[in-house]
């Protein structure tokens, strides 16, 4: 397996892979997987301009193959509320990446979700592409509340994935919470399944997937070819 990370929204322009800026954000938009608005910045003033355009609060993420697990290594800043915090965090991230040839930093909308999910996939040597849905965010590893299916899957199967989660009663509106838009999540799952089947990446992580009132959004994603 080629362990070089190809982060669709994080691949630096200098990489051998095609640069993925907002214009050519190919893979995910081709499969209609919505990602929270973002821009790549190479200096603090362009970061600040992008942040204004996207609208605060924003998140800053260091684009570097050295920092695969960004939240563990401190290679990101979340909920940045204004320009002064942005300048401060930008400087911290640049310092963290000292030694990297081409440093770029992703500026992305920071929007809370009512729920955080994870959608993942991998290409199994025996069964081919498989799709996973799970409870996302920091609980993914702890609770291991996941549903797994071998592709291809149909709409009914995608729906059964959602309903087989232990957390489904919560997702579907237990205790007066607003239920998720199940149809939208079904469509998203089918889109990711299509990506898995066509592109057959060895691994894919869309985490977290934010369930919001204005739709279901991916906040971060990575693909291992």
């Amino acid at each position: 397996m080629n362990c070089m990370e190809m982060i669709a929204i994080q691949t630096p322009p200098s990489s051998r892979r095609p640069a993925l800026g907002s214009m050519d954000f190919g893979l995910f938009s081709r499969y209609r997987i919505p990602i929270l608005p973002y821009a790549l910045a190479h200096d603090v003033s362009s970061a600040s301009a992008s942040a204004k355009k996207i609208g605060y609060p924003i998140a800053l993420k260091l684009v570097s193959s050295r920092f695969l697990h960004k939240s563990d290594s401190g290679a990101l800043a979340l909920n940045v509320r204004d320009e002064s915090v942005l300048r401060q965090e930008y400087a911290r991230l640049v310092a963290l990446a000292r030694g990297d040839k081409a440093v770029s930093i992703l500026v992305q909308a920071y929007r809370p979700g009512r729920f955080e999910l994870i959608i993942g996939g991998r290409t199994d040597p025996q069964f081919g592409p498989v799709l996973m849905l799970g409870l996302g965010g920091i609980y993914t590893e702890v609770l291991r509340d996941t549903a797994l299916r071998v592709c291809p899957i149909d709409e009914a199967e995608a729906r059964s994935m959602i309903r087989s989660l232990r957390a489904y009663p919560i997702l579907s509106g237990a205790r007066g919470r607003k239920a998720i838009d199940e149809d939208a999540l079904v469509r998203l799952l089918l889109n990711v399944a299509r990506l898995m089947e066509n592109e057959k990446p060895s691994e894919l992580d869309i985490n977290p997937v934010l369930v919001r009132n204005d739709g279901i959004w991916a906040a971060d994603a990575r693909v291992l070819r």
Partner: protein
């Protein structure tokens, strides 16, 4: 034990839509003639054991013994090669060293063979990929349904087909029945078959498919889906050979009959062992479980469970999950009630009519409620009356009958009571009996009658839960 001495093949023949390779599997399970290639005088040789199985086991077809170095084996005049056979060779049973297998197969094909069971090892599992590739191409070019290589053989008790190379005095053979068993491992297969024979559980087909070079689990499942004498399929596997074929075949099968799978090599340590064992790489455990579930297959977690689940599927299907428990031991009844809840099943509530009927037949010191404790002084007559009432109660879907054979009041006639109740086919009945040799003897008799028995309430209820899970899947896939 029931014995099916009928020679007429029981498989459905309405299978013309199947690929020829899969259709030719009927020459594996119901060959009109066989050639034992490598037939030997030596009792410890595989070619000896297999020839003997066919000669002494009541097989009705023609048997050819192939050995170029001796004029006769076990009283059968030998031929030098399969192609010297006077008639057609339907299935070749190959037990010669690896370097002779290819030419043995060529001879067999020219003698008309549609199938072969290659016992011989020494192929992919020891790094001889080229040798394996050669016989694969030869078989596929000729639609030869080749089982193995590196396998333990095939059983079809109804047709008296027995190419299993473990001598019958060492490994028992089950009588004809409804369970078919496909095993990637010959060793595990042999253990299960031996256990089935001992427990009196009937078997339809058994196949150890070894390296799965040509015929793999997907072909076998597809064949067994249309095999009318197979009621349920049990599988031991270390890894699937062809994921997509497995998925499609398993889905076809589970629409018709249950499939129970024990997947070995799920731990990291186990996975490494599996890879070196049959040359097949095992995939990640979670993907296997997901695939099984998606295909409607039921997963067993141990050999005991595989066996426990298998035998319950010869019962008539039930749609409901309300369990009625009958017992002559209070504590065992409580354990059973706990197991009902643990498995997500329901304890049935007896109808008012049943309550009244039970009250009138029970001694004053027994209380009609579920679990129905008949008390330690219950004899078989008390079991019979209570069973009758519970069988007629429409609030009960499945009956779990606990029988403690250790009590002074109960004698072996309770067996007849249970068999009569089971044969009424009003409800599925399973029996739980925990105990030593005397108990085991009675359990074996019940299993022989097709009443699944279990050594504990929890193992019984786990099997009942799988039974109901499948019924639900089948009604609403």
């Amino acid at each position: 034990m029931m014995k099916n001495s009928s020679k007429s093949p029981s498989s459905a023949r309405s299978s013309s839509s199947l690929p020829r390779l899969i259709r030719n599997l009927d020459a594996v399970f119901e060959p009109k003639s066989v050639a034992v290639i490598g037939a030997s005088h030596e009792p410890n040789k595989i070619g000896h054991v297999i020839l003997r199985n066919f000669l002494e086991g009541g097989y009705g077809g023609e048997v050819y013994a192939v050995n170029p170095n001796t004029p006769d084996v076990l009283g059968v005049k030998t031929i030098k090669r399969a192609s010297d056979a006077a008639g057609k060779v339907d299935c070749a049973l190959v037990a010669v060293p690896a370097q002779f297998v290819e030419s043995a197969l060529k001879d067999s094909i020219s003698a008309g063979a549609r199938a072969a069971v290659v016992i011989t090892g020494g192929f992919g599992e020891v790094g001889n990929k080229a040798g394996e590739e050669k016989i694969k191409r030869l078989a596929l070019d000729n639609d030869l349904a080749l089982i193995g290589p590196n396998c333990m053989g095939v059983l079809n008790p109804a047709a008296r087909v027995d190419s299993v190379f473990l001598p019958i005095y060492k490994m028992g053979r089950p009588h004809a029945g409804g369970i078919s068993f496909i095993s990637q491992s010959g060793a595990v297969g042999g253990c299960i078959v031996d256990l089935a024979a001992r427990a009196g559980v009937g078997m339809s087909k058994f196949v150890s498919y070894g390296n799965a070079t040509v015929i793999n689990e997907g072909h076998l499942l597809r064949y067994l889906a249309q095999d009318s004498s197979t009621q349920a399929v049990v599988s031991y596997m270390e890894g699937v050979k062809d994921g997509p074929l497995f998925m499609s075949s398993a889905k076809v099968l589970t629409r018709e009959k249950p499939l129970v799978i024990l997947k070995a090599g799920k731990s990291k340590h186990g996975a490494a062992a599996a890879a070196s064992h049959t040359g097949s790489l095992a995939g990640a455990a979670e993907v296997y479980s997901a695939a099984f579930q998606q295909a409607g297959a039921l997963e067993a977690n141990s050999l005991e469970e595989l066996f426990d689940f298998a035998k319950i599927f010869t019962l008539p299907s039930s749609a409901g999950s309300r369990i009625g428990i009958l017992t002559n031991g209070g504590g065992n009844g409580v354990l059973a009630a706990d197991a009902v809840e643990a498995e997500g099943l329901q304890l049935a509530e007896f109808s008012a009519r049943s309550m009244a009927a039970l009250r009138s037949m029970l001694p004053s010191y027994a209380t009609p409620r579920n679990p129905m404790d008949l008390i330690g002084d219950a004899d078989s007559a008390r079991y019979e009356r209570a069973l009758q009432i519970m069988l007629d109660d429409s609030n009960i879907d499945v009956l779990v009958v606990i029988v403690l054979f250790q009590t002074a009041a109960l004698d072996s006639s309770v067996i007849n009571v249970l068999v009569k109740a089971a044969q009424s086919k009003k409800k599925p009945i399973v029996v739980v009996s925990t105990g030593g040799e005397y108990t085991e003897l009675h359990r074996r008799i019940l299993d022989g009658y097709g009443i699944p028995t279990y050594p504990s309430p929890s193992s019984a209820m786990r099997a009942v839960a799988k039974f109901l899970q499948y019924a639900k899947y089948r009604n609403n896939p």
